[in-house]
Symmetry: C2
Subunit: 378 residues, 2 copies
């Protein structure tokens, strides 16, 4: 393989792409073992791959406090959400083995610090609520009482949900560079892509070199469309309607936190590590229920200095097909009224698909509708 | 009127919006008189209004040389094209009156310098050709042999071609601020807007707060569509298809130089003074004949440091309606073939319009076609 320079791409967050993969230590058997939750394992694997650069492990108290209070790491670099490992008690040794849910050790952590944390404060700052009906808050409140901090070395990577779509930041960067892309926009989704979001991605693509369709394949709520069905929707849509040399489909291995605005910033920073110079932030990004205002996930970017994040957010309004425009549009680009717009509620769409009915072509591509109809039928 | 802060808008080029308007001097009658060409008058009026900030007058040799050689002013600020006043001989006094084509004095220039210039060098650097079939080169070669430099004070502003669309940078900035816009994209055009360019402007608008449709109403080639017809096309299109609170139509009083790539940069800098944070650069921007490569006017922006211009160019490819996509698209966003695309050559469109025939709705809005048909009929 010829070496390809990735110099033209945006730099990773903090300047260097972290690699925390390594070999199994000889004395692994002597380490105390900590079993990680699914969300912690997802964080661990992302640290290993550099997706959370500059983090080299689970956060210490100085980073944690400043992130919670000020959305910055202790170094001054922007960061939006805690990446912490919750434990019941301080380990006795200076190294612990981190095990997956099956109990198999996958990494070693060099113990740096164990500290107490205030769940109410973290919930209020990061989720803007302490209501335990919020799935992220519920998860936080159910956590063990101490945070264990330290650098990690991962010797067994997680098995990806979709092996053919699993690409570490170093690999997406290599692909972008090989294709000669410099400006790349990332699109985060946890839903099938209908016309409205196809429009966002294409609008964004028009002004840059390439598009990374980066669906989240980590844990989501149980009422989200199953990841297998979603991936089939993505490949079907991309095959039919996107130029293959301008788009890359790859999986984003993060677990949803449903932290709305803060998660939008965190998602943007992660995508910077994957090589994206731009990131799409629509309405209600990473939201859940009624906890966040429609535009909160866009407004939060104003809390950073211009270019402080380096990756450029691209904000979008509500989009739809307008019969008078004869095109997709948004409330920003279309002056016509609600009656001229093709709008279907999520409930209505699920109802149609459940009955094997194809929604209007202005709402969803027929090929994508068919994938969903087949899935509902199974 | 309540004061509105324009602080949230992009700063003018060089930091301060220049105002070179002023009173008629008492001793005007004693000044030697220099009559300006139409292009020089257009430059003069733009200097007066701050559209060419930080320029306060016609360029001296230090600025001129560095602009021609390195696309920067002597101060180090980016600048793309000479803004000079050609004269036959050095004036005797330290002030001269600048007169319009009717011979009426409209401004005073404080003589700072008179210098010889190399027309071949200016042509080669700025137009990338010394072929006098190029309209900009022809104009340059026909110019008087010396450049007269100095700060100007304009006491009689030019009568705008379209008074209702004439807005100085201070006014567009005030309007942007009143509307709460921070990020504004400027669109330069010297043609009627068909669907292809409507698509560009709307794609650009989707990611910012507002759109400035800024047609050039200064001198153009005689085979361009007359400005009156164009303005009617713009108002018709905007009335029917753009949200009034998201778009402003205003005239750009510059004369075309047809300098392609360098003029694209110059156009962007001017729009920054009008308050635009973004500027659309399509294919063949400000080009003429076959003198420039299709993407030269986009590639030239790479010659500046990132954020050096501050205003962000937005580059676009060839756009069209695609029957398979069922939407407007570009070669970047559509994978389908030429047969699926609605394409009409300029010649074909003029032919259809001349025969009173309305082009397909996928090519041009029927209301705009009607304006053009009526104009061809007259």
């Amino acid at each position: 393989m010829t070496a390809v320079t990735t110099d033209r791409l945006i730099a990773p967050h903090g300047g260097t792409l972290v690699d925390r993969t390594g070999d199994v230590p000889d004395d692994l058997g002597s380490h105390e073992r900590v079993t990680l939750t699914s969300r912690e394992l997802s964080d661990l694997d992302m640290i290993a791959a550099g997706a959370l650069s500059p983090l080299e492990g689970f956060m210490g108290k100085a980073d944690y406090d400043r992130v919670v209070e000020e959305m910055h790491l202790a170094s001054g670099l922007p960061w939006a959400l805690p990446v912490c490992l919750a434990v019941d008690s301080a380990p006795t040794g200076d190294r612990v083995a981190l095990a997956n849910e099956a109990g198999t050790p996958v990494a070693v952590l060099e113990v740096e610090e164990v500290f107490e944390y205030d769940k109410e404060r973290e919930a209020e700052s990061c989720f803007r609520t302490t209501d335990d009906a919020h799935p992220g808050v519920a998860r936080l409140f159910a956590q063990k009482p101490l945070y264990l901090a330290g650098r990690v070395t991962v010797f067994e990577r997680a098995t990806p949900a979709f092996a053919e779509l699993a690409r570490d930041p170093a690999e997406t960067r290599r692909i972008f560079a090989e294709r000669g892309w410099k400006r790349v926009v990332g699109f985060q989704t946890r839903n099938p892509i209908h016309r409205a979001h196809e429009y966002l991605t294409k609008v964004a693509l028009e002004t840059v070199d390439g598009l990374l369709v980066h669906p989240l394949v980590g844990d989501t709520k149980s009422d989200d469309v199953p990841v297998g069905v979603r991936v089939e929707c993505y490949t079907t849509l991309l095959d039919g309607y996107y130029p293959p040399d301008r788009v890359l489909l790859s999986a984003f291995p993060a677990a949803m936190r449903y932290a709305g605005p803060r998660e939008a910033v965190w998602h943007a920073i992660c995508r910077k590590n994957y090589g994206c110079s731009h990131f799409i932030v629509g309405r209600d990004h990473a939201g859940v229920g009624e906890y966040y205002g429609t535009y909160d996930a866009q407004l939060i970017f104003d809390e950073f200095e211009p270019h402080e994040l380096d990756i450029e957010p691209m904000f979008f309004e509500h989009t739809f097909w307008c019969n008078v425009c004869g095109s997709m549009a948004s409330t920003k680009s279309c002056p016509h009224g609600p009656d001229d717009r093709v709008f279907l509620s999520g409930t209505k769409v699920r109802e149609m698909l459940g009955e094997g009915e194809v929604p209007p072509v202005e709402f969803t591509r027929p090929e994508v509708a068919q994938v969903l109809i087949d899935a509902y039928r199974d």
